[in-house]
Every structure is written in C-alpha cells, then in structure tokens.
C-alpha cells in the first residue's frame, strides 16, 4: 500500500486570533471578547490506495478536502489517527501561489523544483522539457509577474508532472489553461498513472473524475460519506448535489 489512512481526524482552530496585534490581543483578553472556535475539519476518514490508483476527492466547499491533502503532503499533522505515506510526494495545492513575481520564469522554475525536492542536476536536465511542455519558450527571462494566470498554472503543472513522482497530489489543477492545454495535461496525467504513480485529484468537475479516476472519496463536512467504486459514488454524489439545489430553491 502506498497510502494508508486510518481513522484520520484533524481539529482546526478558527477565531479572533488571525491578523491580530499584541495590543488588540491584550485588550480583547481583558474584555473577554476573544473567542477561539475548534472544529473537526476532517473527522474519521479511512482509506488506502495502491500503486497506480487514481483517487478523486469530491465534496462541497468546506468538506475538508484541502485539509486532508495538507496532511497527506506533510504540511499538517493529524490530530488523531494514522497516516502512512510511502514514496516522495509532489503536491500541488493552489498552483500559482508560492512563486516570486520579481524573479524570472527560469529562476522561478528552479526555485519551485527545489521546493518539490528535486536536485540541481535533475533540474538542469529537465528544464528545457518543462518549459517546452508549458509552452513558455519565449518568456523564460521575463519577470514572472508579467505572465497571465493561465501561463502561471501551466508552468506549475509542468514542473510538478515532468518528474515522475511516486505520489502526485493535484488540487483543482486540471481546470487550468485553455482547452488545448487541458487535453495535453490530462494525457500527461494518464501517462504518469500508467507509469505507476499514485495520484490524488480534487476536482469539482464530475466528468473529469469519472474519466480519470478509478476510486472516489466523498467527504461532507469532514465526514467520510463513501469510498470506493467511481461510477456508483459519482451517481450518488450527483443526486446529492441536485437535491441540495432543489432544497435551496
């Protein structure tokens, strides 16, 4: 098993402590106007993935999808439960962030590569391929901030995918770029999966998940609703979403 998650729960805290100053903190503490709310962002999730699996995660906003990915990629620690991940993880959470606008495209490519844990030699070898895949040959020495948001995402995707990670995490990634690039990136994804990588994909496009994934995890408000066969869960999820729309109306 590449990824094995048992009864995973993550407690998240929210409240008045964000973007607060020391002075305000003291004043609020004295007035008793300081509240911190705890809630379980992910609550009792259990699943496991084999080599070559592609998991789609579905769920409405605030279902805990991103938090779950943060734990798998090692950014957060679980409050309860167990997470076992074998192999190097290449995670793309919110693609275009974390680049430096003042550096050039080339410098950003190396910086991002370094963040994902590649070596310099490796980047030297792969650099041209990455730029070619992202179709940014003419922009290599331009400051990164001059790129359009589609171009930025293309670059981020290319860096993460051209390196054959053991585990690839994609958060709302395949919805970037124009039609042509989207097709290309999906093909690339399939190539990675066939190469034996395990992939986790978060997407709001059910079509995409049906097309690409062999397993689906459905989360709702942190709780695990279902895990397993793609087709049946997608059908149920679709029903659930439509019902929700009707009740809202």
């Amino acid at each position: 098993m590449i990824i094995d998650i048992k009864d995973l729960s993550i407690r998240y805290i929210m409240g008045d402590f964000k973007d607060i100053g020391l002075k305000e903190y003291i004043v609020r503490k004295i007035k008793g106007d300081f509240t911190v709310r705890e809630f379980w962002a992910v609550d009792g999730v259990t699943f496991s993935l084999e080599k070559g699996d592609m998991l789609g995660i579905v769920g409405t906003n605030g279902a805990g999808k991103s938090t779950l990915l943060k734990v798998i990629s090692g950014i957060m620690r679980p409050t309860k439960g167990e997470v076992r991940v074998e192999g190097n993880v290449s995670a793309l959470l919110e693609l275009a962030s974390g680049f430096d606008g003042d550096l050039t495209v080339r410098e950003n490519t190396y910086l991002r590569g370094a963040m994902l844990g590649y070596t310099r030699d490796f980047m030297n070898k792969k650099y041209n391929e990455i730029i070619a895949f992202a179709e940014l040959e003419e922009f290599q020495d331009r400051p990164f901030k001059q790129l359009s948001s589609g171009m930025k995402s293309r670059l981020a995707f290319s860096i993460a995918c051209l390196v054959k990670p053991d585990i690839l995490i994609l958060d709302e990634v395949l919805s970037v770029g124009d039609g042509g690039f989207r097709k290309k990136s999906e093909d690339k994804m399939m190539e990675i999966i066939h190469g034996g990588a395990t992939t986790i994909l978060v997407s709001h496009s059910l079509d995409q998940i049906r097309r690409l994934c062999n397993k689906v995890l459905w989360l709702d408000k942190g709780k695990q609703v279902a895990f397993g066969e793609t087709a049946s869960i997608c059908d149920k999820y679709k029903e659930f979403i439509e019902k929700k729309k009707i009740t809202k109306k």
Partner: protein
C-alpha cells in the same frame, strides 16, 4: 542533521539567490546603496557627535563606525528574520518544506551585506592609521556569536510576528531604544562603574565592545566578554529553536 541539510541544499541555495536578487533588484547600484546608506549615517553622526563626544576619544570615527556596523547588521538580520515566515507563508502552507530555511537564507543575505560593509570599515580603519595585527583574526569570534544570536532571535521574532501582526512596530521601537543604550556614539567611561556594568546586559553592546577592543585598542578582550558573547548566542538559539519547534505545525492556523 547533515543529511537533512544536504537534501535541502538546492532549495537553500535558490532561496539565498532569491533574497539577494530581491534585495538589490539585480542592479549594481542596489549593492552600492547598501554600503552607501550606513556610510551616510556615519557621515551625519560623525559630523554631529564628534563635537559632543569625540574630542577625548581616539579614532572616534572608527569607534562610531564599529558601533554602527555591528548594530546595523543586528538590526537588518533580525528584521529580515522576523519577516521570513510571514513573507513566505504562501510557500510553506502549500508545499512541505522546512520553515527554518527561510530564516537562514535571509540571515545569509544579511551576513553578506555585513561582509561588504566590513570591508569598507577596514578601508576606513587603514586610512585612520589603525594597525592591522594578527589579533584581527579574533574578530571571527564575535561575528560567529552574533550570527548565532541573530538566528536565534530571528526564530523567536518570526514566530511572534505570525501571532501578532503589530510586532514589527513594537520591534522598531525596541531597536531604537536598544540603539541608545548600545553606546554607539558615546563612551561608557563617564558612567560610574556600577552603571557601566549594566551595559553588559545588552548583547549588542557586548559584541560592539569586542570589535572596538580588537580594532581600536589592539587587545584581545578578557574571558568575561568571551563568555558573554557565547552565552547570549546560546540563550537566543536555544529559546528560539525550542519555540519554533513547539509552534512548527501551529503557524498554519494563523496565516
């Protein structure tokens, strides 16, 4: 530990490059400016204070320069260190990288800047008739201690800055006050001996004093100063890394 560093060496190098490029905006003038601004400060200070304090102090300009040199390195490194977490939040909330790398890379670029100013300082010293002896090698000791001290304080400040966003203003006020008690432009000789010893409670003063003893007086300071140097550095790095470790996974909630 070493293996871990090796694994992240590439990232560390790229971060240092990024900080350096961003600091100087890839211009030669940017680099010149970073030397020019302490020199300008020195010029104004020596014009004003030489009349007030400088008549009895030998090599007063060098005395002033040594104080400014050490203090601005301290200020630059800790200010940058304080920013290192918040400024890189977009990275470490999305990618799993060790957070201390951001602090260390910021400290490296401050240290390089300090090195540049140090060369200018030596040029000034030579013009002022300071004799360069083998004892100058001992300057590596306070520099080393100061580097560790700055990193330790950077750990603490960067964590605090994540929690309290007005830290920057508070720290500005703090450094200003600290500057006045660091004996940068005056000498402590005029104070009664009991007061004079109080100055040793200020780490920056200790490092400045070490510098002046070597460069101006040409003597290696006593054991006590050596102990103070290493003690402050150890306290800072110990508290800093403990604090960092404790909150390492909590920063995320605040950003």
């Amino acid at each position: 530990m070493l293996e871990k560093f090796k694994k992240h060496q590439f990232l560390f190098e790229e971060l240092v490059k990024r900080d350096f490029k961003n600091k100087y905006k890839r211009t030669v003038l940017g680099m010149v400016w970073s030397i020019l601004s302490p020199l300008l400060m020195l010029l104004v200070m020596s014009l004003v204070f030489t009349h007030l304090f400088g008549r009895k102090t030998p090599h007063y300009t060098i005395y002033l320069f040594a104080g400014n040199l050490v203090f601005s390195y301290f200020k630059d490194a800790t200010n940058g260190g304080m920013n290192s977490l918040v400024a890189n939040a977009a990275i470490f909330t999305k990618v799993n990288v060790p957070k201390y790398l951001f602090l260390l890379s910021r400290n490296v670029s401050s240290l390089l800047n300090f090195g540049l100013t140090l060369i200018v300082f030596f040029v000034f010293a030579a013009f002022d008739g300071i004799l360069f002896t083998w004892k100058f090698i001992f300057l590596l000791y306070p520099i080393g201690c100061l580097v560790i001290f700055n990193i330790g304080l950077g750990f603490i400040l960067s964590a605090l800055y994540v929690f309290f966003r007005d830290m920057q203003y508070l720290y500005d006020i703090f450094t200003m006050l600290l500057m006045y008690v660091s004996a940068i432009f005056y000498t402590v000789d005029t104070f009664p001996i009991a007061y004079r010893n109080l100055f040793y409670l200020n780490p920056v003063y200790v490092y400045i004093t070490y510098f002046r003893r070597i460069v101006i007086d040409g003597v290696i300071p006593g054991v006590v100063i050596h102990l103070f140097c290493i003690l402050y550095a150890m306290i800072a790095i110990f508290i800093g890394s403990w604090y960092y470790k404790k909150y390492n996974y909590k920063f995320l909630y605040y950003l």
